[in-house]
Symmetry: C2
C-alpha cells in the first residue's frame, strides 16, 4: 500500500473534539447574547469575486488575499507532460478569492439586497476568513471572525448597544479584569485641526499616535516630528491627548477647552450620549474609559471607536470596532451609516485557555452504556434509547470486551458515568450505575438512574 | 464615488437571516441527535495540501477540486504591466486546494493523531465543501456537508447506530414518508461471483446496476450486455438481485439459495445482525428495506451500504453511507475499519422548504422595545435589559420615530410583541404590551409582561 504522509498546510489547524467543545462554548455564548439583543444571523460565501475584495484592505492587505485558480485554463496540461504554460492576463488565471474579513461581505450584502432588507439591519456573522500571512504564535492563515453590526442608523444607541454586548460577552465568558477603551474619530480630527496639523499629514500623524502602547508619549513626540509635524503642533496635540481622568472628566475638559472646534464638539457629545445610554443599560462605568490615543488601525472609522483589553496576558485587544458611515457607499453609491464590533474569537479562546477559564471537558457524553454480553444486548440498546429520550447523551460501547477495558475507555474520554446491564439487572429491569467521579456504584431502576445522572451533572433538559 | 457593482461567484449563495434560521434549525437538530448518541464534533481546515486530496475522488472528481494559488509566484507582475508569465511546473503555482468532502479529511486526522485519539473515534463534522461543478438547480459550488462516522470498530452495532441516527434525524425534522434502503457490498460481490462475472468486469457491472432507477431492469440487462457480460450471466445476476419482499424474507431467500458463496453469506448475515440491532433500538421495521440494486457510487464501500429516500419530491437520496474498512489505510499504512453516513444537508433543506416543513419565522426576536421619546429612554433601556435577563430576546428600536413606523418594522420582521414605555407607564413602573398576532394590548407590570410573552410564545428558559 503506498502511503501518503499526512500533514496540514502552514497556518491551518484541525480542531479535535476537546478543542471543538471550547470553541462551541465561546461561539454559542456569543450567539445567544447577540440574539438576546435582536441580532440575526448572516452567512456569506467563502469565495468572493476578486473585484469585490480589491481596493478594500490597503496594499499590505491586498497581498494577503488567497486567490482561487480558475478552472479549465489549460494549466493542468503541465501535469500531463507539457513543458511550459504561458499566462498573458492575470484574470485568465484568477478571478475569485477567499473571504478576507466579514465587513466587506456585509457591505456587499447590504448593497445587493437593499430592497429586501428592513433597515436597521442588525446582523451577526461567525465564519472563517483567510489571510496568507506569515504564520506565528496566535496568528493563523485560516481563522474565525465574529462580527456584530447595525446598518442603517446613525443613532448613538446602536454604538452603546454594541459596547453593552462586548461587556456582556466578556463578563459571561468569565473575564474579570478588562477595560473597554473609547474614542471618536471626530475628536481626533478636531484636535489635529486645533493643533494646526495640515490635512495631508493627518493620516501619518494618526499612525504615530497608534504606536503609543509600544513607544510611549516621548516616542510619539519624536516619531511625529520625524513625520514632518512641527514641534509646536506636536506639543499642542499631545497636551490635548494627554487629558486624564474618568470618562466624564475627560469629555467635560475637552468640551471646556477645545469645544469651539465643531468636529471635536460633535465627537465628544456623541461619546457623552453613549455613556448616558451605557448607564441606563447597567454597564459598570469603571469598565469604560475614554482613551484619546485610541486610533484603531483601520482607516474606515468615521465616529466612535472602541476596543477591549485585558491586563494579563498582554496580548492586544480582544474586540475592536466603531462606526463606519462611509464604507457601504463604496458598493451602493449612496452612504448608509453603520456601526459594530469584531470579536477576536481566536485570541479570546487562546487567552481563556491560558488563564484556565474553560471547565475541563473532553466529551459531551453523560453516560457510557457498557456492552456486557450478547444475552443482554437488546435490553442494553433499548435502555440507551430510553436514556436518550430522557435527555441524556448516552454512548453505547460498540464491542463486547472486558468491562475493565470499557471503564478505561470512559475514563480516557472523561465520560462521568458507566451503566451496565448484566443478566441479574436484565431479570429485574434494573441497571448498575457507576459514578466514575465518586467511585460509587449502585443498582437502580432505569428512571432512577436517569434522575441520578441528571442530578449529579445538574442537567435540566 | 466609483461604485463596484456587487455580485456573487457562480454557484455560491448568501444566507440572509430567514434562510439562516432554517439552516440553524436543521444543523442544530442534527448536532443534538449526534451528541445524544455520543458523537463528538470535529473541524478540519478548508485548505488541504493537494497531495492529500489527489487520487481520492476519481478522474472526474479530481477535475472539480478548487485549487488555491500559491503566493509570491511572480504572477502578480502581470498586474503591473508585465506582458507574459511562464509557468514550468504545476506545483510552482498550486500546492493547496479547498476541501472536497469530509471523509478524506477524517482519514487524514485519524492517521495524524492516531496516538491521541481513543478508538473507536465517533465524530460528527458539519462544514462547507467546494466543488467546481457546473452550477444548476440544487447543485452549488460551495455547500455544507454533514457527516457522522465511527472509526475503529468492525462491530455491526456501529452500522446499526448510524441507521438509527438517520431515522431519528429525519423523523425529528418532520419527514413522514421516507425509506432507508440497505445493501451490502459483500452480497453484490457474492452474486457477481455466483453469476460467473469476471473480476475485471465487476466495477463496470456495478455502474450498470446503479442505473436501475433511471433505466429499469430491462435497461440494466441491455447495458450490461453492452459492457461485455454474457447473456446467461446477466440472467443469473438479475434473478438474484430481483428477490422481493421484506428484509427478513429477502435475506432468508439469499442465504437459502446462494448461501454457499462465502462473501454473500457474510454480507447477508451482517445485514441480519444490523436488523436485529435496529429492532432493539426501536427503529420501525417498515422504514428499512433491503434493496439489492443499491450500489452507491463511491468505490470505497466494503460492507453494509445504505441510503434514505423520500417518495415526494423525487430528488434522489437525502442521506447515504456505509462501511469503508480500507480507506483510512491509504493514509496510515494499516487498515482501520470505519462506517458512517453523510446527510445531504442542502438537499434536506431544499426538500423541507418545498414541502413547507419549516415554521414561518423571520426573526428569533420575541419583543421589540419601542422608543417612545427622550424622557422615557432610560427606563426603556433598563427594561430591555431586564427582559433579556429574564430570558427574552428583546430588540430596542434605535431611533425615536413615530410609533406607527416602529410597529411596521416589528411587523415586517415578524417580531410577535411590541413593548412601550410612555410617561404614564414610566410613572407607574408598567409597560404597554401589544401582541401583534392577536392585536390585543394591555398595560402590565414588567414581570407580568415577561410572563405573558413567555406564555404565549411557549418559552421555557
Amino acid at each position: 500500500m503506498s502511503v501518503i504522509k499526512p500533514s496540514l498546510p502552514k497556518g491551518t489547524r484541525d480542531f479535535l473534539p476537546e478543542q471543538m467543545l471550547r470553541r462551541q462554548f465561546v461561539m454559542g455564548t456569543m450567539q445567544d447574547i447577540f440574539e438576546k439583543y435582536g441580532y440575526q444571523p448572516l452567512e456569506t460565501p467563502s469565495i468572493e469575486k476578486l473585484e469585490v475584495l480589491s481596493g478594500k484592505y490597503g496594499d499590505e492587505g491586498e497581498k494577503l488575499i488567497f486567490k482561487v485558480l480558475r478552472r479549465g485554463t489549460g494549466l493542468e496540461d503541465l501535469l500531463q507532460g507539457e513543458s511550459e504554460f504561458t499566462v498573458r492576463k492575470y484574470g485568465d488565471l484568477v478571478e475569485e478569492a477567499l473571504r478576507y474579513d466579514l465587513t466587506v461581505p456585509l457591505s456587499r450584502v447590504v448593497a445587493m439586497y437593499q430592497n429586501d432588507l428592513v433597515l436597521p439591519f442588525k446582523r451577526y456573522q461567525i465564519q472563517p476568513v483567510w489571510r496568507a500571512d506569515r504564520p506565528q504564535r496566535g496568528r493563523y492563515r485560516e481563522f474565525y471572525q465574529c462580527d456584530v453590526d447595525t446598518v442603517g442608523t446613525d443613532s448613538m444607541l446602536a454604538d452603546a448597544e454594541t459596547i453593552a454586548i462586548v461587556h456582556e460577552v466578556l463578563s459571561t465568558l468569565g473575564f474579570e479584569h478588562f477595560t473597554i477603551r473609547l474614542n471618536n474619530r471626530k475628536i481626533l480630527d478636531g484636535i489635529m485641526e486645533y493643533a494646526g496639523i495640515r490635512r495631508e499629514i493627518t493620516p501619518s500623524a494618526l499612525i504615530s499616535i497608534d504606536k503609543i502602547d509600544k513607544i510611549g508619549v516621548d516616542g510619539v513626540r519624536k516619531d511625529m516630528q520625524a513625520r514632518g509635524v512641527a514641534a509646536g503642533e506636536v506639543a499642542k496635540l499631545l497636551n490635548a491627548l494627554e487629558i486624564a481622568g474618568d470618562a466624564h472628566t475627560v469629555l467635560a475638559h475637552l468640551l471646556d477647552f477645545y469645544g469651539e472646534n465643531a468636529s471635536l464638539r460633535e465627537g465628544a457629545e456623541e461619546l457623552q450620549e453613549i455613556f448616558t445610554h451605557l448607564v441606563a443599560m447597567g454597564v459598570p462605568q469603571e469598565r469604560c474609559k475614554v482613551d484619546l490615543f485610541l486610533v484603531r488601525g483601520l482607516g474606515y472609522y468615521t465616529g466612535a471607536m472602541h476596543e477591549s483589553v485585558v491586563e494579563e496576558p498582554k496580548i492586544g485587544s480582544l474586540t475592536g470596532g466603531g462606526r463606519y458611515d462611509r464604507l457601504i457607499g463604496m458598493f451602493l453609491g449612496r452612504e448608509i451609516p453603520a456601526t459594530g464590533t469584531s470579536f477576536g474569537i481566536e485570541r479570546i479562546i487562546d487567552v481563556m485557555t491560558q488563564l484556565n477559564m474553560f471547565p475541563p471537558q473532553k466529551s459531551k457524553t453523560h453516560v457510557l452504556i457498557a456492552s456486557f454480553d450478547k444475552t443482554t444486548q437488546a435490553s442494553t440498546l433499548k435502555m440507551a434509547q430510553d436514556f436518550r429520550r430522557a435527555g441524556l447523551n448516552a454512548e453505547v460501547y460498540l464491542n463486547t470486551v472486558k468491562l475493565k477495558k470499557q471503564f478505561t475507555y470512559a475514563d480516557r474520554k472523561q465520560i462521568p458515568f458507566v451503566a451496565i446491564i448484566g443478566p441479574d439487572e436484565q431479570a429485574n429491569n434494573t441497571v448498575t450505575l457507576k459514578d466514575l467521579g465518586s467511585g460509587q456504584q449502585e443498582t437502580l431502576q432505569w428512571n432512577a438512574a436517569v434522575a441520578q445522572i441528571k442530578n449529579i451533572l445538574d442537567i435540566e433538559k
